[in-house]
Symmetry: C2
């Protein structure tokens, strides 16, 4: 028996952490994968849970079962509270501490309200399954309350849905809410006409999907309009109170508001006292090491990494996955070159039959793009069973316009929204 | 145009209420179906959600979409707070009141702790989707906490699961927990050996499945033992505190306790001042009318109806469904005979390949009974899509022992259980 196998601690079982752990599985290293959830989440489809098209379990896989056969990988349900870099230890909320020889920080991001933390109660963001179930409850409950509301102003408020933030998540949410309210459930109601629901997408910048080429942004905006979504660009939000959004010069009375405007990296930079950008992402070396820490890496949404064009790499799954693998290879002594991102295109979808894809040299929009988007997402879903079940569910929803996961659960289905009686401006 | 169509109000969209509403759909009556949930729940499979085999949406269907095409059926999300029988009105929590010409009370039952309401916090019951998600979280979290627990007594406590009540729900829960802990997830853990988990089923009476013939009860008890469930009969529970159950002479240290021992009908009898049995079920007439109320019916778990053998009909779906249809027929003027229950057998399942069926004249147990049970349950699931998805999921779980819905969600995945450090007796 030779020397002890190096201990690798990975914090976070998102795409980055999972990518690293999978590459290290079966190798001569002792891996501990720490996450405060017991499941890996396929975040790109989370908006489909929030809009009742998929069930939580369709897009989540227990981390333990992913690594059931990798005997050198230990999974730990716990939360990191700090890092003792000098002592090569991480501090945990529940189980004390954990020593490491190598540390991979893949702790992801939460939504950020740009200093307006009181907006959180009125405009929930979409990062976890609990977030998605909360938004699903709000959207479905607003329709239920509208059905019995006799005051015309309140009814209009209940049938107004605002999505703040025109990035891929905001565009996908707005499209999905429009389809849910204006099409899928429309026939089920008697007093209201949900297809008259107002869905507003608010973006502070000049165009939706700012990371995409203008031609695709325009195509996405057109597709949104076709679905009946009002798109307000160049419109910063200045205030959100209960049931009201003030955006530009408009005051919009809306019972349901969803936040998709900004994210903030986890506090990994603070734990290490590392230099970070405005969003809290650590400025890492070209090999993804945290400066001054030879054996600590930061990847995914936790790291600020410039691409070949000088722009920071986007917070998307393929970037995190490739970084996870690159870091694992370095630990195994197999790669010493700087990280370079190999792009397979940038995708966003709008509703049930439109998408935009930026392949770099050429671009695609419309139904073919949507088909490619669908197959790519089903393909990358973790686990064979999820692929089949999600595939069937999509095909079925596509044919019938049904939403199969229309459940109002949690909090005893009490209305989380207070309806103001004030008349809308 | 002739006289106004009679207004039928149905309270509760369980099997009874749904049975009545479906029969009335498309007829010349105005139906309003009131439920405080937006979904109909296929309760016989709820234990599979609690043990991570199925997702909530697999066994729940939005009430609205069931009646999307029945233009004479209105669905109302609201809670009944009282009945003004003289004024032919029901009072609602949110939307005021509702006048009726005919009223069908199908309000179901909740679990009852026989006057020990403080047990509810430590031993949740299983009636709603939120209950099932709560129990799922407790079971999965107990395993996660056990994985990192170093104190041997606490670890044993975390790996002990107690189910109180030996009726069909208790038997199914105990079997499913044993399979989940002792088989499905066993390979995923490193520090603990979940197949050594202790699962205890406690029944106060002489045998499990008291409503079944002794031969089938014995078969069920044998099947439970084969799965590793300890069955304690003749053992009344005298106290439940946090992490401890006192049953007979035993004091069992168990982090997870599930209550399946007793139910209490909804307060429908109180609303009407009607005579009721110990469990709160209204003593109805042979035609299911509430005595002294010509136009009010009570069905399902809300009603006490004797069968041909003189025993009260069991609280199962077929009874409620047939009563719902019978009441609807009476309202439509199509049937005036007393209600008679046509039994298609009584089923219970134990784990993934055993079941017992009581056909009345003959009885069946073992694998064939399980196959019949499976097909019957998939067949009666509401909606085409659920049938396919659940079918695939069962087949997949059966082949692989996987549990696809192993999610710890809600309450930020914080441990709901306090682990006592006291040594177990």
């Amino acid at each position: 028996m030779s020397e002890r196998a190096p201990r690798v601690v990975i914090v976070g079982a998102g795409f980055g952490g999972l990518g690293a752990a999978k590459r290290l599985a079966g190798e001569r290293v002792d891996v501990t994968l720490v996450d405060r959830r017991n499941h890996h989440l396929f975040q790109p489809l989370l908006y489909q849970v929030a809009t009742a098209a998929l069930s939580p379990a369709d897009i989540a896989a227990p981390i333990r079962s992913i690594f059931a056969d990798a005997k050198n990988v230990r999974v730990l349900l716990d939360e990191v509270t700090g890092i003792d870099a000098a002592g090569s230890r991480i501090m945990l909320g529940r189980t004390g501490s954990l020593d490491f020889d190598w540390l991979i920080l893949a702790t992801g991001a939460r939504h950020s309200y740009f200093g307006h933390d009181h907006w959180a109660a009125h405009a929930p963001g979409l990062k976890s399954i609990d977030d998605a179930i909360d938004i699903r409850r709000r959207v479905l409950l607003a329709l239920e309350l509208a059905e019995t509301e006799t005051n015309i102003w309140r009814r209009r408020q209940l049938l107004t849905f605002v999505v703040i933030g025109g990035g891929p998540t905001g565009v996908e949410m707005a499209g999905a809410i429009a389809e849910l309210a204006r099409r899928s459930v429309s026939r089920d109601f008697r007093s209201i006409t949900p297809h008259c629901s107002r869905v507003v997408l608010i973006e502070a910048g000049k165009q939706v999907l700012p990371a995409f080429p203008p031609r695709l942004s325009a195509a996405a905006q057109q597709a949104l309009s076709d679905l009946g979504v009002e798109v307000l660009v160049d419109t910063p939000v200045s205030e959100i109170v209960d049931g009201q959004v003030i955006a530009g010069k408009e005051r919009i009375a809306a019972a349901t508001v969803v936040w998709a405007a900004g994210v903030q990296a986890s506090p990994a930079a603070q734990w290490l006292g590392a230099e970070h950008d405005k969003q809290g992402r650590i400025f890492v070396e070209r090999d993804l090491r945290v400066p001054h820490h030879e054996r600590i890496f930061a990847i995914g949404d936790t790291a600020n990494v410039p691409g070949i064009d000088g722009k920071v790499l986007p917070a998307i799954a393929p970037v995190a996955k490739q970084q996870g693998r690159c870091v694992a290879d370095q630990i195994l002594g197999r790669c010493s070159t700087p990280f370079t991102y190999r792009s397979f295109g940038n995708l966003a979808t709008i509703g049930r039959s439109k998408a935009v894809i930026d392949w770099g040299r050429h671009q695609q929009s419309g139904f073919m793009a949507w088909l490619i988007w669908s197959f790519a997402h089903i393909w990358f879903l973790v686990g064979f069973r999820s692929r089949i079940v999600v595939g069937i569910q999509w095909f079925w929803s596509y044919l019938t316009y049904q939403r199969s996961a229309r459940l109002i659960t949690g909090q005893d289905a009490k209305p989380p929204i207070q309806i103001s009686s004030r008349e809308a401006a």
